[in-house]
């Protein structure tokens, strides 16, 4: 048997960007472990549809410049932190000093703080299942640490805008760690955008730890260009009675991959995971989610919708694992898919593994096209066919878009959706 390919040496040389010593040490240690890491191939179950789109050429190992102008779409209301090619840009960031809340770039941490963080990085993700997160751990150049003291409440959403400038090939490795203390509360928006047109990779890891009763809303908006491979991972660990809400809205690219792993470790914890994916052209989008029900009395609710037009391909793989002691778990997973063309493909796979005997667990997955009877009904009222298509496609995801609790995100998503409709549905 041919051995699985491994990373080329270009990805293994040390990263130049300086950071506090404990983080440099961590990076180095993770880098050493990359040497034998087998890369995903089509025989790797969780990458079988996507491995062929993963382009890890030597050029991709180049660092992208960490200075330069950030784009204009950063004009968002509220608090914001700007990252350019994985490095925080303080002069483009704006947030007040807040009681009980610290927002710091990794670069700004003291050695003690960095040592504490280094101990905790990678603790939320199962790195065997999320191979590519390991590359980030070896190569991140900067990152954002957000710490909320007990009872601290962030009064407005915090926008973290990750821009990648693709004027030359290379990669960026954005990293976020959110430590939400007891009964703290935060709404966080991660927006991923790009400029330039050379092929680049964005490899992200975002980690969230929620102490008892913490309440975190995470919104993720994938808006990068057609030249950007995006391979992201989000790991979440939840203690007793905490609540995590995730809203992912993503538009396709040559490769978009997001792994979302949630561990419900304390009784009464609950998570709600919503996702909307829209693909067109030859785009490819792959969502893998895992919910680990570890403690009893936890709730999870997951709703993902994929819309695929033209020859694009969308994948949803949703795993729910209910551990033996997780009695009275309540898990509900729903994935609906809409194919807008005969050439589009959607693959969906619910995976349920249940070891407790007193649980409620529901799952459903459907794949369909726009309903002819509904279309006929709309056009029979004089509504143009294009408009009817838009109404029905929007109806498919409306419920999820409306649930996004930040108006600016809904508007940004709607603007991008309107572009998609213009490109997908012809004028009569």
């Amino acid at each position: 048997m041919k051995p699985a390919p491994t990373l080329s040496s270009a990805f293994l040389h040390p990263v130049g960007h300086s950071l506090p010593e404990p983080l440099v040490a961590l990076r180095k240690q993770r880098g050493t472990a990359l040497v034998d890491m087998p890369l995903p191939t089509r025989k790797t179950e969780n990458w079988k549809y996507s491995s062929k789109f993963l382009k890890l050429t030597d050029e991709m190992a180049n660092a992208l410049p960490a200075d330069g102008k950030t784009g204009s779409s950063l004009a968002v209301p509220g608090y914001k932190v700007a990252f350019l090619n994985g490095v925080m840009i303080p002069e483009a960031s704006e947030y007040p000093d807040l009681d009980g809340i610290t927002i710091q770039s990794f670069d700004d941490l003291s050695d003690d703080e960095a040592a504490e963080l280094a101990d905790r990085l990678d603790s939320t993700l199962d790195n065997n299942a999320v191979q590519m997160a390991r590359l980030n751990s070896a190569r991140f150049e900067d990152g954002l640490l957000i710490r909320l003291s007990p009872d601290a409440v962030l009064d407005q959403p915090l926008f973290i805008v990750h821009e990648v400038t693709a004027d030359a090939s290379g990669s960026a490795f954005p990293r976020i760690y959110v430590d939400a203390g007891r009964h703290s509360q935060i709404t966080l928006v991660e927006e991923y955008i790009s400029s330039g047109s050379e092929p680049v990779m964005v490899n992200t890891v975002s980690e969230f730890t929620l102490a008892d009763g913490a309440n975190v809303t995470s919104i993720r908006l994938n808006m990068e260009g057609e030249n950007v491979q995006h391979i992201g991972a989000t790991g979440v660990r939840q203690q007793r009675s905490s609540r995590f809400e995730s809203h992912c809205v993503g538009f396709g690219g040559p490769l978009r991959r997001h792994d979302l792993q949630v561990r419900l470790e304390g009784e009464g914890a609950e998570c709600k995971l919503n996702g909307v994916v829209v693909t067109q052209g030859k785009q490819h989008y792959d969502n893998h989610t895992t919910i680990e029900h570890i403690a009893a009395h936890c709730n999870s609710e997951e709703t993902y919708r994929n819309i695929a037009a033209d020859q694009s391909h969308a994948i949803f793989n949703g795993r729910i694992h209910i551990h033996q002691d997780a009695q009275k778990s309540n898990a509900d997973m729903n994935n609906k898919n809409l194919l807008l063309s005969n050439g589009a493909e959607i693959d969906t796979k619910p995976e349920l593994e249940i070891y407790a005997d007193d649980v409620k667990c529901a799952h459903g997955a459907t794949i369909g096209q726009l309903d002819e009877a509904s279309l006929f009904y709309l056009v029979s009222r004089g509504i143009a066919r294009r408009e009817a298509n838009v109404l029905l496609t929007m109806a498919f995801i409306n419920e999820l878009v409306e649930q996004i609790p930040v108006a600016a995100v809904r508007e940004t998503a709607q603007t991008r959706l309107n572009q998609f409709f213009d490109q997908t549905f012809e004028e009569a």
Partner: protein, 261 residues
């Protein structure tokens, strides 16, 4: 206004309409009755332009214009309105959004300015009262979770909003209790006008007590086999279809007929 000549139509290569001839003038109300499977619903769907039905020969003109050349939405803008026998539920599209989009499509076609949300809301509330629908329905998904009667009232509400030239009512009375029938009938009677024609397709005579037609036609085996005045409906009620030499084929054609609904 509407002229149908020797209309033949098929669904999945099965001929349902086998030579329909019908003339309807502005201001008239016509009723088409007939047993199940006679082609009543097919005729409604063909008039509205449902592509599941293929017109194999014959012609349909509306005020002299060839209807068969027009897409469904163009027919609607020219004034054809079909009240569906089974209105479709469309969760995720609010009734209000649907109705306003439709009304504005018509207004744009007529060269009138679009109505803004506030103007339309006012109009929609008035019309919903006319068919006794709680304005709260406007915020729900199109027909979503509506009872049968509510769906039918929503159809009539749409007719009142869109002010068609020809309103085709496909079994609008089916499934209605007597109160709802009264509301729906009042709505339809409010539509009667000198410049508008109404074509009612119905299985039962009951509706015709509330909406009195000028002409009644009996459709059987894909053809109009008898036409007359209002008294024909009463005679059918009394004597059934047998005296016309028609068997009420409860099952024979109903699957093909039902597929278009």
């Amino acid at each position: 206004m509407l002229s149908i000549k020797n209309l033949h139509a098929s669904v999945e290569d099965k001929e349902i309409l086998k030579g329909i001839n019908l003339e309807i003038k502005a201001g008239e109300v016509h009723a088409i009755m007939g047993p199940n499977g006679s082609g009543k619903s097919t005729l409604s769907q063909v008039l509205a332009g449902n592509e599941a039905f293929e017109v194999t020969s014959g012609e349909i003109t509306l005020n002299g214009e060839n209807l068969l050349d027009l897409e469904t939405e163009e027919r609607a803008r020219e004034g054809i309105f079909l009240a569906f026998q089974y209105p479709v539920e469309i969760p995720g599209v609010s009734n209000l959004q649907f109705l306003r989009t439709a009304v504005n499509a018509m207004r744009t076609h007529r060269g009138e300015p679009e109505m803004n949300a506030a103007e339309f809301m006012k109009l929609a509330k008035e019309v919903s009262k006319q068919v006794d629908l709680d304005p709260a329905f406007l915020k729900r998904g199109v027909n979503e979770g509506f009872s049968g009667g509510e769906k039918k009232r929503n159809e009539i509400m749409q007719a009142l909003l869109l002010q068609p030239k020809l309103a085709i009512l496909d079994e609008t009375d089916s499934g209605l209790d007597i109160d709802a029938l009264q509301v729906v009938s009042n709505g339809v009677n409010a539509l009667r006008a000198e410049d508008r024609a109404i074509l009612m397709v119905t299985h039962y005579q009951r509706l015709l007590n509330h909406i009195v037609p000028d002409y009644v036609h009996v459709l059987a085996g894909g053809k109009i086999v008898k036409s007359g005045g209002r008294e024909l409906a009463l005679e059918l009620e009394e004597r059934g279809y047998g005296w016309l030499g028609i068997k009420d084929e409860e099952t024979a054609d109903s699957s093909a007929n039902g597929s278009g609904n």
